[in-house]
C-alpha cells in the first residue's frame, strides 16, 4: 500500500529533521538551521501526501473514510499536527533552538505508531459522522499546541536556572536560547492557541455524542479527562492573565497540563475503558 510507504518515508524525514535540529544547536550554523526547517517541512509534505493517499485508498477499497479513526492513524495525525504547528510557531516567534526538543516528537510518535496495526478497517456506525473530522482535527491541533508549550516551558525552567547561575554568559549552551522572558511569553501564546481549539474540540465532541448517543455529556473517562485538561489550562490562564502568574509557576502548570493531555489522549485508551475505544488493546 502506497500510504504505508509514504508514512515510512515521512518517519525517516522526521528523523533526519531531528538530527539536523540537534546539529544546529551543537554547531550553530545558519545553514544547518535552514536545512533542519526544510527537512521538517519536507516531512510534513510527505506525511500530508501519506494521509491523503490513505484517504484515497480507503475509497478505492470501497470503505471511504477519513484516516483518523484508529490508534495508528491517530498517532500519525498527532505527529503531523505537532510538526505543522511547530513550523508555524518557529516562523512566528523566530526561534529555531526549540526545534531540537520538538523535532523528536514527530519522529518518536511515528515510530510508536508503526508498532500498531495499520490496515484500513471500515467504520462502525457510531463513527460514521460528519463531526468526526472537525472533532478530531480541533482536538489534535490543540494537543499539538500544548506539546510545543510543554517543550518551551521545560526550556524556560532550564534557561532561568542557567540565568541564575551565570547571568552573563552569551557563549554558553543556554546563551544560544531566547531569554527566559521570551520563552515564558511563547509558552503562554502557544497555550492561547491550544485552549480555544480544545474548547471547540470538546464542544464538537459533545454535539456529536448528543447526535449519536443522545447525551452530550456522560462523564465517560475520555470526556472527563478532556475536561480536566481544560480546567488545568483554564486555571493557568486565569492565574496568568489576572494575577500575572509568570515564570516558574506558569511553566510548571503548563507541564502538568501537558501531562494531563497525554493521559487524556493515550492513558485513557490504554488504561481506562470507555466510549473512545480506538486504542484499546483488543
Amino acid at each position: 500500500m502506497t500510504n504505508s510507504l509514504l508514512f515510512g518515508i515521512a518517519t525517516f524525514v522526521y528523523f533526519f529533521a531531528m538530527v539536523l535540529y540537534v546539529s544546529y544547536l551543537a554547531f550553530r550554523s545558519e545553514m544547518l538551521g535552514k536545512a533542519a526547517s526544510l527537512s521538517m517541512l519536507g516531512g510534513v509534505v510527505v506525511e500530508t501526501a501519506a494521509i491523503g493517499m490513505r484517504w484515497y485508498e480507503s475509497y478505492a477499497m470501497g470503505i471511504g473514510r477519513a484516516p483518523l479513526t484508529n490508534m495508528y492513524e491517530s498517532l500519525a495525525f498527532f505527529a503531523w499536527t505537532i510538526a505543522l504547528i511547530y513550523l508555524v510557531l518557529e516562523r512566528k516567534f523566530r526561534i529555531k533552538t526549540m526545534g531540537a526538543f520538538v523535532a523528536p516528537f514527530p519522529f518518536l510518535i511515528m515510530a510508536y505508531a508503526s508498532l500498531n496495526p495499520n490496515d484500513i478497517q471500515p467504520l462502525v456506525p457510531a463513527l460514521k459522522s460528519n463531526w468526526l473530522i472537525s472533532h478530531v482535527v480541533t482536538c489534535f491541533v490543540g494537543y499539538a499546541a500544548f506539546a510545543v508549550s510543554f517543550v518551551v516551558s521545560i526550556l524556560y525552567l532550564f534557561k532561568t536556572g542557567s540565568e541564575q547561575l551565570s547571568p552573563k554568559s552569551p557563549g554558553s549552551f543556554w546563551g544560544f536560547f531566547p531569554t527566559s522572558a521570551a520563552l515564558d511569553e511563547i509558552g503562554y501564546k502557544t497555550i492561547a492557541i491550544g485552549f480555544p481549539l480544545l474548547t471547540i474540540g470538546i464542544v464538537t465532541g459533545a454535539f456529536w455524542a448528543n447526535v449519536a448517543w443522545g447525551t452530550y455529556w456522560s462523564w465517560d473517562p475520555k470526556e472527563t479527562w478532556s475536561l480536566i485538561v481544560w480546567l488545568i489550562y483554564a486555571a493557568y490562564l486565569h492565574a496568568r492573565i489576572t494575577r500575572g502568574w509568570r515564570g516558574k509557576r506558569a511553566a510548571v502548570l503548563s507541564i502538568v497540563g501537558f501531562a494531563a493531555t497525554i493521559f487524556c489522549y493515550l492513558g485513557v485508551n490504554l488504561i481506562l475503558s470507555g466510549l473512545h475505544s480506538y486504542g484499546s488493546p483488543s
Binding site: 478497517q121 471500515p122 462502525v124 456506525p125 457510531a126 460514521k128 459522522s129 511569553e185 492561547a192 485552549f195 480555544p196 474548547t199 471547540i200 464542544v203 459533545a206 454535539f207 456529536w208 448528543n210 447526535v211 449519536a212 448517543w213 443522545g214 447525551t215 452530550y216 455529556w217 462523564w219 473517562p221 472527563t224 479527562w225 475536561l227 480536566i228 480546567l231 488545568i232 483554564a234 486555571a235 490562564l237 486565569h238 492565574a239 492573565i241 489576572t242 494575577r243 494531563a260 485513557v268 481506562l272 475503558s273
Partner: protein, 465 residues
Amino acid sequence: MSADEPVKTAKTDGTDWVEKIWGFLTSLKLVVILLLILSALSITGTVIEQNKPLQEYYRFYQPGTVALFSKLGLFDMYHSWWFVACLSLLALNITACTMDRYRGIMAGMRKKNRILDEKLSKSLQNLTTIRYALPLDAVAKKVVGLTGKGFSGKPVVTTAEDGGSHYFFEKGKYSRLAFFMTHLSILIIFLGAMVGSFFGYKGYVNIFEGEAVSQVETRAGKIQKLNFQVKCNTFHAEFYPGGAPMDYRSDLSIVQNGKEVVRKTIRVNDPLTFEGVTFYQSSYGGQPDQVAIDVVNRDGSLKGTVTAPFGRMVDIPGVADKMETVDYKEHYHLPDGSEGGRALDVHIYPEKGREAEAWLLMDHPDYDKQRGGDYYFRVKELKLKKYTGLQVNRDPGEILVWLGSILLIAGIMIAFFMSHKKLWISLKTDNKGRSELTIGGTANKNRDAFAREMEQMIQSLKEVS
C-alpha cells in the same frame, strides 16, 4: 480575560463579614483552587468506574470499602452532593466575579480621555512627537488618512483652545465584553444542564417490527407517556464481511390520531425528533415468534415435529410428554465457557418423573443427543420477531447548552485575539511656526503586537512630507 482591569482587592478590615465573603467569592485564589480541585475530583471518577451494579464493585473491593465508597457517593460521584457543591461554588464564584468586574468593563468602554492632555501623556509609554514644515491642515489631512487605516471609523475630533486639535481613534471597544461572554456562557451551560435534568427525561424502549408504542420507560424507572405513537416499520442490521457492524437502521413512523405524520429511517448518528422528543438508534434484538422442533429417535429417525408459538405448552408427538419453549439467546455460552451461538431453552414435562431443561443449539443440531433418553430435540425452524432498541430523550435545556457553548468559543476567540486599542493624536503649531504632532496609544491586550503596530505607524508618520 483582559489584563488592564485592575483586580479589586476587597477591603477586608475584619469587621464587615459581607465584604469578607464577597472578597472570598471574587478572589482569584478561589477560581484557581476550585478549577484544580474539580480536576482532581474528576480524576477519581475515572479511576473508580461509575454507576456499575453494586455486585460488580464487590468483585474489586473489600465489602467494607464498598460500603464506605457507596456512602461517600464515589460510585456516582459526578452527582454526589459534594461534587455538585463544588460546581455550585464555581457558579457562585463566576457570578460574583462578573458583578465585580461589571463597572470596570463598562467604564473601559466609555469614551473618556478624548484629549491627549498632560495627565494622559504621562501614562503613555510610547508617546512620540514629530515636527513638520507643512501647514497644520495639510498635516491633519494626511495624518488622519494614514492613522485611520488600522482603526475603524472616524476619529473623535476636538478643537483645542490654542487653535490645535485632538484626535481620538479606537478599535475593538466591544472586545471588552468577551469577559462576560466567556463567564456567562459557563452559567448558561450549567443552567441548560439543570433545565434538562429537571424538565427532561431519558428513556428507553424496544419496538417490534410492525408494532407501535405510546410510552417509554425512563432511566428513573417511571413510565413516560407520549402524545403520539412511534411505530417501527422495519429494522435492518448490516455487517461487513469481517463481521464488524456496518449499519443499524430503523424505519420509524410517528402516528398521531391514527394518521402517520412523519416517517423517517433513523441510524446511529441520525436520530428523529418530533415535538421535542428525540429517538436514537441504540440497540436491537429478536424474540422468538414461532418455533418448529423435530423430535428425533436415538437411531436418527424422525418421530415427529412440534410447531408452536414461543412459550406455549404443547404435546410431544408419539409420547405422552409435554414441552414448552421458555427462553432464547443470541449468544449461548457452553458449560466450558465457549460460544455456542443461538440457542433455544426448552422445558420438558414427562408423564412420569421430574421436569427437565435443555438448551438446543441451532448451529449444533444434534447437541441435545448427549442428554440421553429415548428421543432428543432438534430445532427445525425459528422465526424471530425483530425489535429495535431506541433511546428516547426529551431535553428542553439542550438549546441553552449549545447557546452557551457557542458563546464560550466566540468569547475565548475574542478574548485571545482581539483587543481594545486607543490612539490619541494632538496637533498644534509650535512656537517656531512648525506643525507639531504628538501621538500615543494603548491596548488592553497583546501589548507587544500593539507596540510593533505603533512603531510602524510612527515610522510612516515621520515620512509624511
